[in-house]
């Protein structure tokens, strides 16, 4: 397995720890299906992925993972309410056109939602913006402003406020700095990436 600390991606092992064994998982923006593959092998989940790129669909098929080629901006209207134990949105929230709409859709379809995103409030981002007066470009945010797929950045604190305003309960949070855990109190400053487990108040399993 590739080392998450080297690849920059959010640790799949951390996500796997949040998923109860034997559950049913929908992975939005599943890419080549590596996360679902890991969850299948280590947590015994059944699941399905959604991605927009043809090459990713083929990669999933190669692993025997069910996958749907679709655009997350169109929402999840084909999916029944509460039909999945977990809906996962991994490193994708910041690329979504209408994140609030998708968050609400995920909370409708999933009994739990697992979502992670790069924390724009991370200290290096703040310093680059405040001192250099330029958009942050670093290991966790490697894109220039003009060629980035990321159109909706938020800080950890912004995200918590959003959860509050759409009535999502935060069940757990994992804050990482380059895939090592950081303490919650400093997280909005010290974490490069944040991951939350959410549910609606009425969804109790």
């Amino acid at each position: 397995m590739t080392d998450d600390r080297i690849t920059n991606r959010f640790s799949y092992d951390e996500i796997a720890r949040l998923v109860a064994p034997g559950t049913h998982v929908l992975d939005l923006g599943c890419g080549s299906g590596d996360l679902l593959d890991l969850l299948r092998r280590t947590r015994g989940v059944t699941g399905r992925g959604v991605d927009i790129q043809e090459e990713m669909i083929r990669a999933c098929l190669e692993k025997g993972i069910s996958v749907f080629q679709g655009d997350l901006d169109e929402g999840l209207k084909e999916y029944r309410s509460q039909s999945y134990d977990y809906v996962i949105l991994n490193e994708t929230l910041q690329m979504i056109h209408d994140p609030v709409y998708l968050m609400n859709e995920m909370l409708r379809v999933g009994k739990r939602v697992i979502v992670n995103f790069p924390n724009f409030g991370y200290v290096v981002n703040r310093l680059q913006l405040a001192w250099l007066g330029q958009m942050p470009v670093n290991r966790t945010l490697p894109y220039e402003w003009y060629d980035t797929p990321n159109i909706h950045f938020c800080t950890r604190r912004d995200f918590v406020r959003l959860c509050d305003s759409i009535g999502a309960i935060i069940e757990a949070a994992v804050d990482l700095r380059r895939n090592r855990r950081v303490a919650g109190v400093f997280a909005n400053f010290a974490a490069t990436d944040c991951c939350f487990v959410l549910r609606k108040p009425e969804s109790r399993v």
């Binding site: 399905r48 043809e54 669909i57 083929r58 999933c60 098929l61 025997g64 080629q69 679709g70 084909e78």
Partner: protein, 390 residues
């Protein structure tokens, strides 16, 4: 003559004499039936590597390879079937048969009715996609195959593949469904109706009893021209023909100057009449129009309730005959029934014909899919045979 070619030998299977007649969906008993089919590759010891290919409207049993050293073109899906190709004949045993009602070796309206000694003509019963599949089931059983590794087809072939998963759920491990629909739209039926009208309006059609006379070639050619338009797209026609004239640079202000697209359609219509029977056109297009899983089973979800196959559904962005939304309806119904289904929409300019043209891109999807299906079938079968798996 090309001596290096492996020549495919078509085979025939007959059934449906008095004791085992085929009961059609209409309720009418029918027989005997001759089925023309071809096979490629080798059936393994446990008969677990068989793939049934299902041809589209104007296709036939000749899916791959050459029937003779002189044949100018290989079978209709030769780019997909063969050693190292997506339907890899080093790995899989591939079968393709001509459909019931066809005119390429399987019993159809042009076949001799044993009761009269003359061709059936319109005396041939109206057949459905379900009937075609029931005939294929007899063939598969005859070949000693209990469960197919996959059924695969595009367009009318995709309809048959869908029907297989509904009619014989336990006998299909996976289904590859390309460029198709669970029920053709009014628009699709309308084009078929124009085709049938063109044939039936040809005085040579003689109420279908033209055998032994000149066939209704003009009517059939026009039907094919209309059909062919529905297989292309605005973009592919523009790229292929534009507004170019065939033999001159400027308008002659008469009706002899032809646009390139006109002469292409004339050519396509003209060559079609040499290999296709007008009555088969009428019967098969009707079978397509009748196909409606939603109507037949109450809802698509209900239709797929007992399906046990793993599905791969593929649509093409420029296909306006069976547009992507119709494939998505199939996928959504399967998802809601918790079936194992994958869906991809290939961005292609070639219209409905894409499934015959985009063989490289769809081929990579299909070969990846088939590998995992074969693996999982073998893994599931291994303990039953007492074999040790690594």
């Amino acid at each position: 003559m090309d001596a290096s070619r492996d020549i495919v030998v078509p085979k025939e299977f007959e059934f449906g004499s008095d004791d085992d007649v085929l009961v059609l969906e209409s309720g009418r008993p029918f027989g005997p039936v001759t089925v023309r089919y071809e096979t490629y590759g080798t059936l393994d010891e446990t008969a677990s590597n068989a793939i049934l290919l299902l041809h589209a409207f104007s296709g036939d049993a000749h899916a791959a390879g050459y029937l003779s050293g002189e044949e100018s073109r290989p079978g209709w899906w030769d780019s997909m079937v063969g050693p190292g190709k997506p339907f890899d004949t080093d790995r899989y045993f591939v079968i393709c048969s001509n459909v019931l009602g066809g005119c390429r070796g399987t019993t159809g309206p042009g076949s001799i009715d044993p009761a009269t000694g003359a061709p059936y003509g319109l005396g041939f019963p109206v057949v459905t996609v379900g009937d075609m599949v029931n005939v294929q089931e007899r063939l598969v059983t005859h070949l000693g195959i209990d469960r197919l590794l996959a059924v695969a087809g595009g367009s009318m072939g995709g309809m048959q593949a869908l029907q297989w998963t509904v009619s014989y759920p336990a006998r299909v491990a996976s289904a590859i469904i390309l460029a198709t629909t669970a029920r053709p739209s009014a628009q699709a039926i309308a084009f078929n109706a124009v085709g049938r009208n063109a044939i039936m309006s040809d005085p040579r059609w003689r109420g279908g009893a033209y055998y032994g006379h000149e066939p209704p070639a003009r009517g059939l050619a026009i039907a094919r021209m209309v059909g062919h338009i529905t297989y292309l797209s605005d973009a592919s026609m523009h790229a292929k023909f534009g507004r170019r004239l065939q033999k001159r640079d400027e308008f002659g202000f008469d009706f002899s100057d032809q646009f390139e697209v006109e002469s292409y359609l004339e050519y396509k219509g003209g060559t079609f009449v040499d290999r296709f029977d007008a009555n088969s056109y009428i019967y098969l297009s009707k079978a397509i129009d009748y196909f409606d899983l939603e109507g037949k089973y109450g809802s698509l979800e209900h239709a797929f309730r007992d399906a046990m196959s793993k599905f791969l559904v593929v649509s093409y962005t420029s296909d306006w005959l069976y547009p992507s939304y119709q494939s998505k309806e199939i996928v959504v119904a399967l998802m809601r029934q918790e079936k194992d289904v994958s869906y991809t929409e290939i961005d292609s300019p070639f219209g409905h014909d894409s499934f015959l043209i985009e063989t490289e891109r769809q081929g990579r999807m299909i070969s990846s899919f088939l590998h995992t299906v074969l693996e999982s079938v073998r893994a599931a079968d291994a303990p039953a045979q007492g074999g040790e798996k690594k």
